[in-house]
């Protein structure tokens, strides 16, 4: 991909992540967008276009949810669209904002991700019943936990990984989240706590899993010229990638996410990155389940196949380590309002690269950060790389 116009990130905003928030989806979108505008020091007048990300309409029971949320997201009388790639939407929304600006059609694009899972009763998981194939899978009464248990089991089997090794990720991320003001499930726990927690679908246990949440996040992307008016040292979008695999997930080996390798390579090529393991300083990889952090590190080529657990055991992925992974606390610690959770990771890149992460600031000096999300039926990944010059 030949980069034509340089794009910067100049602001980020994030609401609380909680199980049930009293604010409506419109209000959550408004709060995140407002914070992002304030953080950038601009007003809505300067925004040319708005992109929204939000996961299934089934959560809210509102058809064309993007239209419904548009005024809350700041899109009243603006160029506006909603992009939708399942769980990968949160990182994909700023990717879409990138091409709005890179194409030259917008100078300033506001990207908002909102999720309000709580309206669905009795449990948000019911929305996921309708993501399965209408002919082959729905009649089985499949749930998300079943298929992730299959994938986790396959990953463990292929590399001889133990449940205890995977549990370290939950321990690390929930601990990191103690320093995140928006976090829902920050905690000091041990590997033993994870192992003893209630089995959901073996080998997935309660503490291996991120919670359902409500929340919203927003970032502002703009042209380099615009950014230089606002700050001397802007943060750049260095690479974007996305990729989808076949919907027939039963036909492939789940031990390795090839679609993620492809998405990563697309982003690395754009960013001119040849060796991600040494050139990426820290990463926010998608961790709705603890094994997914490891799976995704491997797909992103930040770890060799089967070696992400060893890096975790060695402390390399700690905030103080050589390659910090999920310094924010990730979905396991901060919460998982689907699209907003992905965008939270992009916000974290912005906070870390501009030294605004406070107690979460990683120990080493960072110049290049990567955010990634995963979605659809275990078949999609989006990747966003940001750089400080």
């Amino acid at each position: 991909m030949a980069e034509k116009r340089k794009v910067c990130v100049i602001g980020a905003g994030l609401t609380l992540f909680r199980r049930r928030l009293l604010e409506t989806g419109k209000e959550l979108s408004f709060e995140a967008a407002r914070m992002a505008l304030d953080s950038a020091g601009i007003s809505r007048k300067e925004v040319d276009s708005v992109v929204l990300g939000s996961a299934p309409d089934a959560f809210d029971g509102v058809h064309m949810k993007g239209e419904y949320l548009s005024d809350g997201a700041g899109a009243y009388r603006r160029q506006y669209s909603r992009v939708f790639v399942g769980g990968a939407t949160g990182v994909f929304t700023p990717v879409s904002a990138w091409w709005h600006v890179a194409s030259g059609l917008s100078d300033v694009c506001l990207a908002v991700a909102e999720e309000k899972m709580s309206p669905l009763q009795p449990h948000p998981q019911y929305a996921f019943w309708s993501i399965f194939d209408h002919d082959y899978e729905r009649p089985l009464g499949t749930t998300l936990l079943w298929i992730f248990a299959l994938e986790m089991r396959r990953y463990m089997h292929a590399h001889g990984i133990k449940e205890e090794e995977i549990a370290q990720v939950a321990v690390k991320n929930k601990k990191n989240a103690l320093d995140h003001p928006c976090a829902q499930l920050a905690a000091n726990i041990t590997v033993e706590d994870v192992m003893k927690s209630e089995p959901m679908v073996w080998p997935v246990k309660r503490l291996d899993v991120s919670p359902p949440s409500d929340g919203a996040a927003a970032v502002i992307l703009c042209s380099e010229e615009f950014a230089k008016k606002m700050t001397k040292d802007p943060v750049y979008v260095a690479g974007c990638g996305w990729n989808i695999d076949s919907m027939y997930w039963t036909d492939r080996d789940l031990y390795y996410p090839q679609y993620l390798e492809n998405a990563g390579n697309m982003a690395y090529k754009m960013a001119g990155i040849k060796n991600p393991r040494t050139e990426i300083d820290f990463a926010e990889v998608y961790d709705p389940f603890d094994y997914k952090e490891l799976h995704h590190m491997e797909g992103l080529q930040l770890a060799k196949k089967g070696e992400a657990p060893k890096m975790t055991t060695a402390g390399i992925t700690q905030r103080s380590g050589e390659l910090p992974i999920n310094p924010s606390g990730g979905l396991l610690g901060v919460g998982n309002p689907i699209a907003a959770a992905g965008m939270m990771k992009v916000c974290e890149l912005y906070f870390q690269l501009t030294n605004q992460a406070g107690r979460r600031q990683v120990k080493k000096e960072v110049h290049t950060g990567l955010a990634q999300a995963w979605g659809d039926l275990m078949q999609y990944s989006s990747v966003f790389i940001m750089k400080r010059r």
């Binding site: 029971g61 949810k65 091409w99 890179a102 996305w242 989808i244 076949s246 492809n262």
Partner: protein, 382 residues
């Protein structure tokens, strides 16, 4: 070169019909994709750097309908995403992909399988704000009725003018071999049809249709090599007004006004009435065609313009020569792309019995339907 940066180099469509029992939506799309790839002469396995689908979950009956998009397009393990919008919005994103350097060749897809949707009215009702605008027991088209009343009141167009749109578009569709709802109607047929939401009558409303459209877009350098007659997207823009029913400027089509302003600016259109050879505008409801004609500046008094025959196939500015949604059917999110498809046929001179004598530049405009105030305008030219 401005206006000649991005071109449509391949188009494909499945059959368009009120029901397509023998084919799934995937098979319809496979058909359309195969034709579009053959038409452009690309090798989908190597040439395409980005695929874009346009869909809404509730119409699909799947949550995260993006999951189901890749296989029938040949997009497995490739960059693909779904935009929750009309097919023309997909073209807009493809335009940006090419301009941003994502890829030199981009594929856009949109489809409708409305014949599978048993609860079309309920889905429409779920589009309204759950607290303030959903009215149980009232037809979800109430907003269309309200807007029609307001439009007639403010514009000076009459109910007969709206009926004239239906008569014209149904007659145009009779000439279009791809259209399903052609017919010889009289003004009385329309005016005497059953009332849906006063003053909106049954025949003022376009009827559902199935079908899939795939388009291949290319950058200037690739387009010249791939197509004998590249159709340039010389301007494209999109716009959303308020989503709140109580705030809408009903009858004004603010989305069409603003998106056309920007698209025309890009395409250097200063006199739309003179510079376009024909127009494909949204006619989900008959009065919408009139409202849109006025909003994008094709005529000041659209009612008179249509009633006097100026928008006919042999008029000064044919509007909806394809038959529009009233003559071809309503394809939900594919509606805009179906009309872009028809426009490309016209511009290439391949429109068969509906071919216009002069067709080198046109405007295509779409609207997302009730209860939205969102739409896209595109300028296409030879």
């Amino acid at each position: 070169m401005p206006g000649r940066d991005v071109a449509i180099v391949g188009i494909g469509a499945s059959k368009f019909d009120s029901t397509t029992i023998a084919q799934s939506y995937k098979e319809l799309t496979f058909d359309a994709a195969r034709k579009a790839y053959a038409d452009s002469g690309i090798d989908v396995r190597d040439d395409v750097g980005s695929f874009i689908c346009c869909a809404e979950d509730f119409w699909e009956g799947n949550s995260i309908s993006d999951e189901y998009a890749p296989d029938q397009l040949g997009a497995k393990l490739r960059p693909l995403f779904t935009v929750s919008g009309d097919g023309l919005l997909g073209l807009a994103h493809a335009y940006m992909h090419i301009m941003a350097g994502v890829s030199d060749i981009v594929v856009v897809e949109a489809h409708s399988k409305l014949s599978d949707v048993e609860s079309k009215d309920l889905v429409e009702e779920l589009g309204y704000d759950p607290t303030f605008a959903r009215i149980p027991g009232v037809d979800s088209k109430y907003l269309a009725g309200l807007e029609m009343r307001r439009y007639l009141e403010e514009s000076g167009s009459s109910i007969e003018d709206c009926a004239a749109v239906v008569v014209k578009n149904s007659a145009n569709a009779l000439k279009n071999p791809l259209a399903s709802y052609g017919g010889e109607l009289s003004l009385e047929d329309v005016l005497e049809s059953e009332e849906i939401a006063s003053p909106l009558k049954k025949l003022d409303v376009s009827r559902p249709s199935d079908g899939s459209v795939v388009m291949v877009l290319a950058s200037a350098t690739r387009a010249k090599r791939l197509a004998d007659t590249p159709i340039w997207i010389s301007g494209i823009s999109w716009f959303s007004d308020t989503p709140n029913v109580e705030e809408m400027d009903l009858g004004q089509a603010v989305y069409a006004l603003n998106s056309s302003k920007k698209a025309f600016q890009m395409a250097r259109i200063t006199k739309p009435t003179e510079q376009f050879d024909f127009a494909e505008v949204d006619d989900t409801y008959s009065f919408k065609e009139l409202e849109h004609i006025e909003a994008i500046g094709l005529a000041k008094r659209a009612g008179k313009f249509v009633s006097s025959g100026k928008a006919d196939l042999d008029g000064v500015l044919p509007v909806n020569p394809s038959g529009g949604s009233i003559g071809m059917g309503y394809f939900v999110e594919a509606s805009g792309l179906v009309r872009a498809y028809e426009s490309v046929l016209q511009l290439r001179g391949d429109a068969g019995p509906s071919q216009l004598a002069k067709a080198s530049k046109c405007v295509v405009q779409s609207w997302r339907g009730i209860p939205t105030q969102s739409g896209v305008t595109a300028v296409l030219q030879k």
